[in-house]
Symmetry: C2
Subunit: 312 residues, 2 copies
């Protein structure tokens, strides 16, 4: 049954039936707006959009997977501010001949990923469109802490990483070459494993800056360097190339460090901490902050692409 | 110069330069998330999406107009909860060959409409897409009041309207028939005049239910009737057909009440109030709430379409 068959309001009813309201939801879907708790009198908000063919392909991922990915991309931005996600709102544009079940499964994926951090899908909008598009806004709660911004890194700080990089990019490359294995890498692309708790934990432990790695470690760390007016060096010896990633890179004739250092969409978090502060659980040192500008790898310029530009 | 020429980050810099941060913005664009004041420990949030060809046409409206309309559609939802809008987030998808200036002008329109109510564009995301798409999320502050939901209308209540209906629909019909005048109606389509202040005012004066009329008065009042388990009757003698609208309808062989009662996109507000309560400024009585179900016009079924379905 297509979306056109059941109509906008029929689809909304089916989608809302897939959602669960968590404890932060004071008024859920179904009205002109939702009402969400903002206990510390501030709300963190972030928006990310996924476009078919650009951010996902229906032949590579199920609707459930894409729901998980769309939610993860947004929830990770909230975590990267040091906040706890509370709610998602979703604008969904789709061709009218799309199966209604696809939209319902997408909602299930969004709701399930949000539930991992106690957040809920509280609202949204739908429209027909020739291009399947999913725009998600995430809200979050800072728990009384200042937000951890990109501009606070200081020379002498440690650069640290929570979560993994390169896995989603390797999975993407594998799928784009027509392969379906290794399964662990393909699954990493389909559903990122985001270290959500590491964000607020970093804030509690005095992180001086933080960012969600959505476009590639070097490019995103470059945003910290630019905003903080510092130079950042990433050490390759801090990374272990997983065996399956090394094998896949060898088979495809690629350098696995291009995935690890410049691949996006795992939604790892990068943060800087004052030197000498013990890193919180889940964080490992991968570099240092220096006087200067730009990002280097083992103190040398990186010759590959640093990440992804959504218009090029 | 196209978006592709200047790239994602170049475009973000240009767009952000068009924005102004209002007093509710604690951290504006440029980080993983924005931080917005939520003084009463709750935040109202709503999302609306506009798709080219479906919600707007570039040959009918300037980018500035479309920015105003996209913001208005969302800000009106916040007002319809009885809240004051504080912030907008915008997901923008466009073909890479779109002129960068178009995107900049869109940002100016969004920012200017938000500024009418003291709100600001605080964040967003961009992606290339074959379909120009603008998804906006609005946040708002309830000022300590309960939200005014759709489900609170009681038999005996007055149905009241703030703002105008039918103007945008008339302008749309005029444009779609290839005309450009009357200018007042065409302009009403291009830039709705939303009675933002009437929303919080209605909440303060005890409105029992409220909705933003985005799809058509009868259809949207029908949502109040359905959520409140009541019947609502709209009286046509409460409406004055403006001279230009009557003339345009006559020239096109149409019934102007189809515009007034079933045309969307003016973003008027409809609300119910207990009988005997003086209506606040800007509100006028247009009907009554009864026991029963459904919406009638002059106590009879309406034979035309009640409004708009985005998938049909």
């Amino acid at each position: 049954m297509s979306i056109a068959d059941i109509g906008e309001f029929g689809l909304i009813a089916r989608v809302v039936a897939r959602l669960e309201n968590g404890p932060k939801v004071l008024l859920g879907p179904g009205d002109d707006g939702a009402v969400v708790a903002a206990p510390d009198r501030r709300v963190v908000a972030s928006t990310d959009v996924l476009v078919e063919g650009r951010h996902f392909r229906r032949d590579w991922c199920t609707a459930l997977d894409i729901g998980h990915r769309a939610a993860a991309a947004n929830l990770a931005d909230i975590a990267a501010m040091g906040a706890e996600p509370t709610a998602l709102l979703v604008a969904f544009c789709a061709p009218a001949d799309l199966a209604a079940e696809w939209a319902e499964d997408l909602a299930s994926g969004l709701s399930a990923e949000a539930a991992l951090v106690g957040a809920s899908v509280v609202g949204g909008d739908m429209s027909s469109s020739p291009t399947l598009t999913i725009a998600v806004t995430a809200l979050g709660d800072l728990g009384g802490r200042p937000p951890v911004v990109r501009g606070g890194a200081q020379p002498g700080d440690i650069l640290a990483l929570a979560g993994r990089t390169g896995h989603a990019a390797a999975g993407y490359t594998i799928l784009s070459r027509g392969f379906r294995t290794p399964k662990a890498l393909v699954e990493a692309y389909r559903r990122p494993e985001v270290p959500y708790a590491a964000g607020p934990l970093a804030a509690q432990h005095g992180a001086t800056s933080m960012i969600d790695i959505s476009d590639g470690l070097l490019q995103d760390v470059g945003h910290i360097a630019a905003a903080s007016l510092v130079a950042i060096d990433v050490r390759t010896d801090a990374f272990t190339v997983p065996g399956q990633m090394r094998d896949a890179a060898t088979a495809l004739g690629l350098d696995p460090f291009q995935w690890l250092l410049a691949g996006g969409e795992d939604h790892a978090l990068a943060a800087t901490f004052p030197a000498g502060v013990p890193l919180p659980e889940g964080w490992q040192e991968i570099g240092r902050v220096f006087d200067g500008a730009g990002v280097t790898v083992d103190r040398k310029p990186w010759s590959g692409a640093p990440g992804w530009d959504h218009f090029r």
